[in-house]
Symmetry: none
DNA sequence: AATGAATGAGAATTCATTCAT
DNA sequence: AATGAATGAATTCTCATTCAT
């Protein structure tokens, strides 16, 4: 297989410009409708250069997803996981959602990629590792705060939470009726209400969600 | 402009077969990747015939969305809106989610269409009326149960609720870790928790979500 | 998989025109350099039509090879295999080469395809069945006239003979110094001399080619 | 025009490495499918360097062909042409084929280049001088042994012989059913039988190949 | 001189839509 | 009306060759 990694500084810069362009174009027209030529043009380069660094369109999406995850992880690294032990549910939700809010504010196009992954089988596979990386953190927090939960339960709550988040990120991206901060405020509220019974450890198993 | 509505019983049947086929194909490969020829073949007919009834691919999606809404409305008609006044929040959620659960059970491919509408500008426009129709019902219920809410608030809660629902429908469609009923049970739980403070009319305005 | 076979008479005609065009174009520029658009244009149609009937360029070559074989077989059917028993080696060679001469006269472009199959892995696979079909006949004749030969020997002589033929067909196709009939006369001579000791059944095993 | 000839010892080595790489790559994927980048990589250098020494891809093939001819000529120089006068046809054939056998054993990829030259017009022109050089030797031998043959006849027998050789070299290169030495043994046999009547000078003109 | 990035024309292939039969 | 053939613009991707570092 060919080696697509840039060897020179010039190449590294171009890769970043291409990813910026891809984020924009995906954001504007969606993954499917985005053409490699359009992306290249937006990055002020030629298709040839694009294909010098990416074997195909899918790989662009994948690299972009990875860059998002890396950015996200760098940002969340500021809040070490141990800090969560001493938090209330509200604080914990804040600790999750507020960085997300800022992240999305800076990366408005983020969501399209993940939304499109529902539409394109190939993209779904490309995105999956990134998707999975995001789950790790919730899992770790659940494990810390509710050690009595089974791995399956942690996973379930993590997944459901992620789908809620994705649902509301769609709201940010596509609804012109709901403004940015409203959605995040609602998201915090939803998550608080969802997680509160789960996090109260003195309760009976919350999987049956009974009071 | 041509008239695409079927004039005879045979035509109506063919349209339905085409929509069935379209639902399947959209479900399998997504809207973008679905080809008109594939849809026609799945309906055991020819492209030529397909274009007899639909001016273009978008129109198929639109008609399909409309058929979904009609089916949904027929199903929910069984529960007249006045009945909601005497319900607890749990009952109300049940009254919403259980029919949805059954609807989705019968129309597994439903979600893809709505997910794809996030990806394709054209499709979004085609789907929008259907999307809007679904919002009417929540709005009506809110109006009935919390007449003190402003139209904007009703709309906001309706929209947010819809995005949560969409988020979890994606879980049904794409996650092989979460099974059908688990998702719907979680969805009910989430909605209950979300709506409860909103529906408690003796509370202060829930928009600020303070206890 | 899609069905590429023509369903209407019109389609069948177009397929034949496309194969004619392909033969020409392959003959002129070779398989690799032949473009599907060029072939389509030569057949006075559009690429789209070409791809209606052939999944890819390789398939065109394959179909063409098959048509050659079919033509060839129709022509050789006139000389039933039993007739070979009563022939001298010269007559047998004649019975092989003269129809080949006529076939090539009518299908000048034939050779390019088989020559190109040495150059393109994909093409080689596509051509192989046709190639193999041609071997059947020599094999049958050897079996009839020299029943004492082992299958391996028959195959060897058949293969070598075929490579000689191919070699000289290249001469017809590419050499502007050797004219058509000269090459075939030489070919007959070569084959006669090659086959004579093999065909003389009273000889010792001809594999050692001793007098 | 630029001067592409290597000026230093290091350059000469690099050219040779590039030709080695080219031979390999042509042998593996054919001339058309071989990319300059692949050749450069195989030679453990970069395209940029490749173009330092060759103006284009065709020139690589040409240089390679020339190197083959030079190698071949060095090898055959051991057998001065006068020695042929005292040989039987069998010995003469041996004197031709055995060095060829050794040459091909050492240069397995040789044939692809010449086969590809049938497929690519441009390559054919590049190869032609090399091709022609190989003909000189047969011509010289014919002239020596059969001074009564016309130049045209010598040329004809030389060409036909060369096409037979090429045909069987293809067998070596592409047939996995015929092994290396079998093919050369058969080749010797074929050439012996072909040349014998031509070389018998007491015969009538062999062009009519009558006994 | 060496590396590998940059370019862009050109190739194969797809597919919504129109049209002939 | 029904079928499936026809069209060609658009898309992804390749690669010989040139250029910047």
């Amino acid at each position: 297989m060919r080696d697509y990694s840039p060897k020179q500084e010039r190449g590294r810069q171009r890769v970043n410009r291409l990813l910026d362009a891809a984020a924009e174009v995906f954001g504007e027209v969606g993954y499917e409708a985005a053409t490699t030529i359009l992306i290249a043009e937006r990055a002020a380069t030629s298709v040839g250069s694009l294909y010098q660094f990416f074997p195909n369109k899918e790989a662009i999406a994948k690299a972009l997803a990875e860059r998002y995850v890396a950015t996200w992880e760098a940002q969340t690294a500021a809040m070490p996981i141990e800090r969560f032990t001493e938090m209330t549910v509200e604080q914990m939700t804040d600790a999750f959602i507020e960085p997300l809010r800022e992240f999305i504010r800076d990366n408005r196009d983020f969501h399209v990629l993940f939304a499109s992954s529902q539409t394109s089988r190939a993209l779904a596979e490309a995105i999956h590792p990134a998707d999975e990386a995001l789950l790790q953190r919730t899992d770790a927090v659940f494990a810390l705060m509710r050690p009595d939960l089974s791995a399956a339960e942690r996973r379930r709550y993590g997944l459901i939470g992620r789908y809620i988040v994705k649902g509301l990120l769609a709201a940010v991206a596509y609804s012109d009726e709901l403004d940015f901060d409203t959605v995040f405020d609602e998201l915090k509220h939803v998550m608080n209400r969802y997680l509160e019974p789960i996090m109260r450890r003195e309760e009976t198993l919350p999987s049956d969600h009974s009071p």
